[in-house]
């Protein structure tokens, strides 16, 4: 297995078209996918994930920059020469062959001896939970099983350096999606294979990966563990994108001892204000719904809000709130409350924004 690295990789499709003004599908990417680690590349559609994937696999040569596998420059190598396996949205298997022959196929092509093939196929089948299916016609498998066979074909060769998973659950029957999501993670661990899972789905990315890179507009905007992305987002976009509901982002103005938002002020302690290393001025406040303290009782330092939506999530409630007595009904805040708190639309609740959970952003970057 191997370590995959991008150095200053950029790509524009318009160079090939001969256009002068370039738009970058991916823009100056520097990233390392470490050996044996479960990685994910997460971002909304159109962010450049697929271009990244094609550059890793060798389908696309980047306009600029270098790709390395274990320190060796592979930028000019073809897909075949890179030995990176791929799993696509649609399972790629031969319906006319049984499961055994499907799994064995890449080894037969590589002229591996048949006794070695049998040993290898059995080992992979064991990891994938397909032992009982080896003699089964592939056409009779369900979509999740087919996808596992695709994966098996990808990883069966000893010279496979890593695996790319491109939205592998998209066409899987919803009933089996959860199970396969779990199994992919377990298989990655078992094989200790360098894996890069590409998806727009937060649940899939954060469940699969130990290291998640978030992409937006052709750039990687943050790399971190699921917990880091959640608790310390680099930008308001990530704060909102990770977590459900996302982080509340409010425009405001930083003053000497407080933050004035359009509808109310949040007072800071001196300690807290000192930690914010910039002077006064425009900024954005971020706070997660679950960090806000919601109470039906007015106490010192709380701010009154009116409930406009109550969503019962089973284990807690999500309140959508607007500032009390305010004509602007567009400023909305979400808070999370205990399931046992009885609240209804139109009621007033009092919010507290604990200092230790406040994030301050400026020009779309975290400053505290």
């Amino acid at each position: 297995m191997a370590r995959i690295e991008f150095k200053n990789v950029s790509h524009s499709f318009e160079i090939a078209e001969g256009k002068e003004k370039l738009e970058w599908a991916v823009n100056d990417i520097n990233i390392i996918w470490e050996d044996g680690v479960a990685n994910a590349l997460l971002g909304p559609s159109g962010c450049g994930k697929t271009t990244m994937l094609n550059i890793i696999s060798g389908l696309l040569m980047p306009s600029e920059g270098k790709v390395y596998i274990d320190g060796k420059d592979v930028t000019e190598l073809s897909t075949r020469e890179r030995h990176i396996a791929q799993v696509f949205q649609f399972p790629v298997i031969y319906d006319s062959m049984n499961v055994y022959n499907n799994l064995a196929f890449p080894l037969v092509n590589a002229k591996v001896s048949s006794s070695k093939i049998r040993a290898k196929v059995e080992k992979i089948a064991e990891i994938l939970g397909l032992v009982d299916y080896l003699e089964f016609p592939s056409s009779k498998l369900n979509s999740a099983e087919k996808q596992k066979v695709s994966l098996g074909r990808g990883i069966i060769r000893d010279d496979t350096v890593g695996i790319l998973l491109d939205e592998p659950l998209t066409v899987i029957d919803p009933k089996m999606r959860g199970e396969l999501r779990r199994q992919l993670k377990i298989i990655q661990r078992e094989l200790n294979i360098t894996a890069i899972y590409v998806t727009h789905d937060q649940h899939e990315a954060l469940t699969f990966a130990d290291e998640v890179a978030i992409m937006k507009d052709g750039r990687i905007v943050q790399v971190g563990s699921p917990h880091e992305l959640y608790s310390d987002p680099e930008s308001p976009f990530i704060g909102y994108f990770i977590g459900s509901p996302g982080m509340n982002i409010l425009d405001g103005k930083l003053n000497k001892s407080n933050l004035s938002l359009k509808e109310f002020d949040i007072e800071f302690s001196k300690d807290f204000r000192d930690k914010i290393k910039i002077k006064n001025g425009e900024c954005q406040l971020g706070i997660r719904p679950e960090a806000i303290i919601t109470s039906k009782v007015k106490t010192k330092g709380t701010i009154p809000f009116e409930i406009i939506i109550v969503e019962n999530m089973g284990s807690y409630k999500i309140l959508t709130l607007i500032k009390k007595n305010e004509s602007n009904r567009n400023l909305r805040i979400k808070s999370r409350t205990d399931i046992d708190m009885s609240v209804s639309k139109g009621e007033t609740v009092y919010l507290k924004f604990p200092e230790e959970y406040l994030k301050i952003f400026k020009d779309n970057h975290k400053i505290y």
Binding site: H227, G243, S244, E290, I308, M313, G314, S315
Partner: protein, 370 residues
Amino acid sequence: MSIRIENVNKSFGKHLILKNISLEIKDGNFVSFLAPTGSGKTTLLRIMAGLERPDKGHGKIFYDDVDVTDVPVRERNISMVYQDFINYPSMTVYENIASPLRVSKNKMSKKEIDEKVREAADLLSLSDLFKHYPSETSGGQQQRIAIARALVKGTKYIFLDEPLANLDYKLREELRGQLKETFSSNKKGIIIYATADPIDALILSSHVGFLHEGKILQYDILDKAYNYPQYLEVASYFSNPAMNFLEAKLVEEDNNYFLEVTEKLKVKVDKFKEKLDKREYLLGIRAQAISPHRQRQNDIIIKGMVELVEVVGSDTELHFKYKNFQLLSLSQKIESFKIGNLVDIFIDPSRFYVFDKDTRRLVYRMAGEE
């Protein structure tokens, strides 16, 4: 206002999809038909809307006590929203929303149409997109256009067939909130909503019908359906995440009765002992009552081996193994656990469901009592 269906059967070929379903839905109700894919919920919804007919001679549909079984869908004054976002690609967003009013029998003035379009667009935050074409909008916006078109007619009956199923999770979360807001401000009419997602049913409905093997296994107001699932199947599915089930034996110790899973994991049942006349039961525990963090003073503490960690929204679902049981616990934040590690797991002994192993019916629900 009401919709009533009586003894509806529906088969496709030899396959009986719906089996003798009867139901009455009243004005102001938001009814979710909840079931996994392939359980017949979409078929039931389509039969109620008039897009499908019940098997000949097997079932009748009444709107306001009038038999409409043989009335075609366009004469029924209903609106429908589908899973795929269906809009007119050659019309602007404004024209898409206005289209049902333009073809309506009672001619409306331009001004009237404009008012209604703006009102519907406002509810679904589409007013800035009037001049765009559907293809220039996002998936979430396209579905909102389809919903606005369903609302603009002001019909009494609105049918929505898994309208959020094809959306990314962020868009799903946003649109769900918007649907909640839109429909909770209008208490008139009947809304029928088919979904495979327990969260949709929890957030949006006033009533929930759970379908299983072609029958409605339970139909209740939301609170009752969620808190008192009458069958194991309902409890298992109408739970987010899935409920845990453990086999437990009824045992007596020093004149106290317990349902015992293991020596450590047992709950006192003296309070409802008279309901228990068998030796074995199934204990249902929602993942919310099992946590990697202490919840209450008298939590039961067990050791679990971490098998898998799933991050869902802002929660972490921790799958772990305890003896021979595979269990699911929930932590209400995003955190990491090392797979294979042993961790302390805290179980709240006051939040159990007891199910009969044979009939699969709910015997008792403990709700926070000590």
